[in-house]
């Protein structure tokens, strides 16, 4: 039986593993796709100790650090978390706190993969997010045929072309800046008046002659033949609702991957984020959560990693109290 199973494969999951390793918890990390969304980030300039580092490099450093400790990694999808019945406690001398028992009076969980049922005393959920889609006609049809979600991955394919970016967040602005290194022209198409980029990013956008912002406008359709040729806007731009584009990159936010947690009874909010307290505890004793999947207002690698360390420490204290 494990002391801790961490579900997830990104920086938060591996940061939790570092601390669980330090605290000598018998730890297994279960992650379907090791790397997470940070892999799609070109430049990170707000992680203390690194003036500038790519998302992939930061992830690989954290992963390597975690694997210096005695932890196990299973690259599989966790299909469910089930509360276990009939587990033996560490000590029969010390009464268990009532809130650490499930309805059957037992402690612990099983994390179920396609081949195994893995027993553990605690779980940390660090499942992250996936990229939100725009959900307009043509999006699925032209996916990877002009419609993309990662400038770092696919932007270089559009040298000297005209590209659109949908969204107004700091991520959208950053994608536009990266794409401007390849493209002839980049339009940021945003539904509101002013983009929400951090001041340093907004300043770089303002100064970039290749980038133009089309504000108060939505993309309502994508058109083309084999590949994307244009998008339809809900308001005319220079007299036309049709804007010719060679590619459109979509950056309209992220959706927490919390279905697994919710199915186990973990409380989530209206945005599907897992609700945690400042010790990264969920509503279920023994289940902790951290990273982009939780209800933090500010989501960065650094905040996710800090939560991960807290979650691992809370799991340690929980196990010690059994």
């Amino acid at each position: 039986m494990y002391d801790l199973i961490i579900i997830g494969g990104g920086v938060a999951a591996f940061a939790a593993a570092i601390y669980a390793g330090r605290l000598q918890l018998k730890t297994l990390l279960v992650g379907e796709k090791v790397g997470g969304t940070i892999m799609l980030t070109d430049e990170i300039a707000n992680y203390p100790g690194f003036k500038k580092i790519t998302g992939m490099e930061l992830f690989l450093r954290i992963k390597e650090h975690a694997q210096d400790y005695d932890i196990e990694v299973l690259e599989e999808r966790a299909e469910s978390i089930e509360r276990q019945t009939g587990l033996v406690r560490n000590s029969t001398d010390v009464p268990e706190p009532a809130d650490r028992r499930n309805s059957n009076g037992a402690v612990g969980f099983e994390v179920v993969t396609k081949d195994e049922r893995l027993k553990t005393k605690t779980v940390i959920i660090a499942t992250g997010t996936h990229l939100r889609k725009l959900n307009v006609p043509g999006e699925a049809e032209f996916a990877n045929r002009g419609v993309h979600y990662c400038a770092l991955c696919d932007g270089a394919l559009y040298k000297n072309r005209v590209i659109g970016v949908v969204g107004g967040s700091d991520s959208a602005a950053t994608e536009a800046l990266l794409l401007s290194e390849y493209a002839e022209k980049v339009f940021i198409i945003y539904r509101k008046e002013k983009i929400r980029a951090e001041p340093v990013t907004a300043q770089r956008v303002d100064r970039n002659k290749k980038i133009e912002i089309i504000n108060n406008t939505n993309v309502i359709e994508m058109k083309g033949d084999k590949f994307l040729h244009s998008v339809i806007l809900d308001k005319p731009y220079k007299g036309s609702n049709e804007l010719k584009l060679d590619a459109l990159f979509i950056q309209v936010g992220q959706i927490p991957l919390s279905d697994l947690a919710a199915a186990a009874g973990v409380a989530t909010n209206e945005k599907k984020e897992i609700i945690i307290n400042r010790d990264c505890e969920t509503n279920i004793p023994g289940i902790f959560a951290c990273g982009d999947v939780v209800d933090g207002r500010f989501k960065q690698a650094i905040t996710g990693v800090a939560q991960a360390v807290t979650a691992a420490h809370s799991a340690y204290e929980y196990v010690a109290g059994l």
Binding site: K33, G35, M39, G55, A143, N144, C153, A156, K159, F227
Partner: protein
Amino acid sequence: MAKTIVYSTETCPWCHVAKDFLKDNNIEFEAKDVAKDDAARAELIQKSGQLGVPVLDIDGTIIVGFDKPAIKKALDL
């Protein structure tokens, strides 16, 4: 050994992950940078019908994205 081609760009993180996976498993492969090589870009479109990378061609089996189970299956790992 299977003939393996990886279509990629220099900046694409999952392309690096895919190449590292092949190296770790001692699989020889040819890497084609579709951002620099127009012929490779045309080949990518002809083989996969799309422009997302990485794409792996393993003895004619076309795999879009770093789909580890599919790559392992194609390489019999």
